[in-house]
Symmetry: C3
Subunit: 339 residues, 3 copies
């Protein structure tokens, strides 16, 4: 199994410099690649590895072609072409069609014969699972769920009642989709649960990370638009909407009814409070806290830099005096002006 450089050039619209008949059977890093393997060069930090690579071919930008000691696949976006070559050489394993005998399937389901339901799954009543979908072992799917074609749920995932998941979605293990939103009315010092009657809509081509949780809406739906990519352990509260092709890194938490635009890039461990709007094309650095609307595209941050603890303690103590310091500075300025 493998593909020639000529085949790569043809399928992925690249230019080859070198031996077009060279057969590629796998991918590897610049440092570890051996004969028969292809790699890519996109980060100038790794230039020294390019010069000594043992790969049979390297995917790189036309500007770097001269430095390439082996066959070159020339493209303006080496990482993208690498991703596509790696997918060609490592196609997703197709699970066996049909329902494993240990799976428990309630009545009224509409499961395409080409779909695969794994060992020890539980599928609720009246649920639809489309062609080519793969539900891995240990998944629990509720009643009235809709799962689109070629969508894959890896393992031990929970999808609650009435959730809708699009086509070609990939969900990593342990994720929970459609748990109750955190809605309670105060009643004389106690909490009364507000029924969470909305659901979750997941668009096509979404990826959801391991142990990520997406709550169902209180009345209307929580919505993850098409092409969104969510890393592990992200918490998405009820009635959040995430715009198409937005990417969110791990451990970020988004509170209820926040609306996030399209093509945003949100760093890891970011906090976003509820009932606010972030426009399209906003980037947020890791561990920032967003407490208000963001109305302009751009890069945003909060927090303070890491320091040695002793130095940090001195400066952090001064943070609590900042307003006082600013007032004293103002007062000094006035005194000097008056002289």
């Amino acid at each position: 199994m493998g593909i020639s450089l000529a085949g790569i050039a043809q399928q992925l619209d690249c230019k080859i410099v070198g031996d077009e008949s060279c057969l590629i059977t796998g991918v590897a890093t610049l440092q570890s690649a051996e004969a028969g393997q292809i790699t890519f060069f996109a980060n100038p930090r790794y230039r020294r590895y390019l010069l000594s690579t043992k790969a049979s071919a390297v995917i790189l930008h036309p500007d770097e072609q001269k430095a390439c000691p082996v066959n070159a696949v020339i493209t303006s976006n080496p990482y993208l072409i690498y991703a596509k070559v790696a997918s060609l050489l490592n196609p997703v394993a197709t699970a066996q069609a049909g329902c494993h005998p240990s799976a428990v399937i309630q009545q009224g389901c509409n499961i395409d014969p080409s779909a695969s339901i794994g060992a020890n799954c539980s599928i609720g009543a009246n649920t639809s699972i489309a062609a080519g979908a793969q539900i891995g072992p240990g998944c629990v799917i509720g009643d009235n769920v809709t799962i689109g074609a070629e969508t894959r749920l890896m393992a031990n995932i929970t999808v609650c009642d009435a959730v809708t998941i699009g086509a070609r979605v990939l969900i990593q293990p342990g994720a929970v989709i459609g748990s109750d939103g955190f809605g309670f009315a105060p009643d004389q010092g106690k909490w009364v649960k507000v029924p969470q009657l909305g659901s979750v809509m997941i668009g096509d081509d979404v990826e959801i990370g391991a142990n990520t949780t997406i709550d169902r809406g209180a009345l209307e739906d929580t919505v993850i638009e098409e092409g969104v990519i969510l890393d592990n352990q992200i918490q998405i509260a009820h009635n959040v909407r995430i715009g198409a092709y937005t990417a969110i890194a791990g451990a970020t938490a988004i509170a209820g009814s926040a609306t996030i635009g399209k093509r945003c890039q949100i760093g890891g461990a970011v906090g976003i409070v509820g009932h606010l709007e972030i426009v399209d094309d906003v980037h947020i650095t890791a561990m920032s806290l967003v407490t208000g609307n963001i109305k302009q595209p751009g890069l945003y941050s909060s927090g303070t830099p890491l320091a040695g603890n002793k130095e940090w303690r001195k400066n952090a103590a001064r943070f609590g005096q900042l307003d006082n310091l600013a007032r004293r500075l103002k007062s000094l300025e006035k005194k000097l002006e008056n002289k």
Copy 2:
């Protein structure tokens, strides 16, 4: 199925202005409600939707009655009455009593005949499950566990050995109750595990969010008192105690042996270090870090505000000079005084 406004007034002790015989069959938002549906008005931001609502009735405060274009349900706490009406109209689905044949149940269990044990569950030895309890598919319950009446575990939840859970508790999918606390003794650069011999006590009427984890105590128990509500992905370490009716938002992490008072409200992604005490009625804003005791009720915060990254970088760099700046300011003040 439905209930008349007169029925709502009688059951929930409200006043109706308008047609008491109007039949209500569902709930919706002010904007989307149609004939037959009831909604509520509690947030002045949505006043324009109140004026044009197509709902058959609106639950609102007496002060807002004049603005209501349709039947009105008058109450001093519209959100609470909405929660109760929504529950009346959407009763919790009762799972079928009995143990699903695919569930594996060890010897010595005491499972009430009215309880429901879902598909592919595993129940350890000598575990008690009280009347009306519902254990959803894929749950793993250990040995010697006690689960109270009408408590519901949704799906894929793990409850470890000897944990005690009260009545009417609701646990969302993927939660883990009773995992080992993080206790290790250092031994010449290595770690020796300290057996975690306590357990977890969950009081009545607690709600626990999806993928939230609550560790068992080292010697004594981790305790979640009655009526506590915990959102998703909260981490509660060994020997933590959380006081009754405290609410904690998603992704908050609480370290070992912290004691949190009653009726506290803790924002999302807050960090609370170990071995400290927080009194009753403390509120903490999102993503704050608590490093010492909190001895007075009130609202607490830490962190810095979000800004454009370029501006933030300039200011963040100055954070590392804060002590220096404060000293220089002090020195200027002295110079000016001496003149």
Copy 3:
């Protein structure tokens, strides 16, 4: 069942002061211990409990021996000896060897007859599980996985294809090992998945907390070296390497290709950005953000202290003026110099 103080002294190389024949049957805290129980004294805060303890023996430092009102077990590291005594008195329950009939096991597996596979597990093809390993109920193990001797997976854990786990590893419920790393190539505003072809290597004697996630590498492996201890809800991205005996507290998130040294101690809810290096013996306080290499051992921090919200708001607002304040201070200093 129990052990005499003489037995403890012999097995754990301690000195007994008092009745060596005293039989110990359990452990407890200083405050709650009763006759027959042993406890330890390591924190001076609890001195008053030492003086009134009802334990049959106390493990403590030679300097504290005089204050001990009961039999004393003398050692320079009381917490370590306590951990070992507690383990002697509470040996880990051994699950029944063999595969539970409800477990689903694919072809080509090599499962040692002394290993235990729990109810409703799913084991993929060609997976090896060594002697004495215990796979708890509801676990999903992929194809070509290797699990070492005496390793225990508690319940509802997912281990993806081709992951290697060492000996004597303990994994708490809900953890996910080997999910896809978060790798995507941008393509005209959309994301193209980069196949995650590496795996995860977990060394011997590692502990992994509940709902912790460890992604597989993109090309090479994510590596957790021997003796590392990871608390709950930690997120470890692809190609991270964590050095031997490092301890990481709950809810910490580590981005891709970060390399963390040996014997580090990382607090809870810390964020570590990708592609950086932290040397051995680094300690980081809770909720700090690490954005660059750490080249020297020591204790590091970031963040601001908790305060009352009103006071915090005033100071936080000034954070956005810090650079301006510093410039104005500099300008005042110049003015005064020129006079």
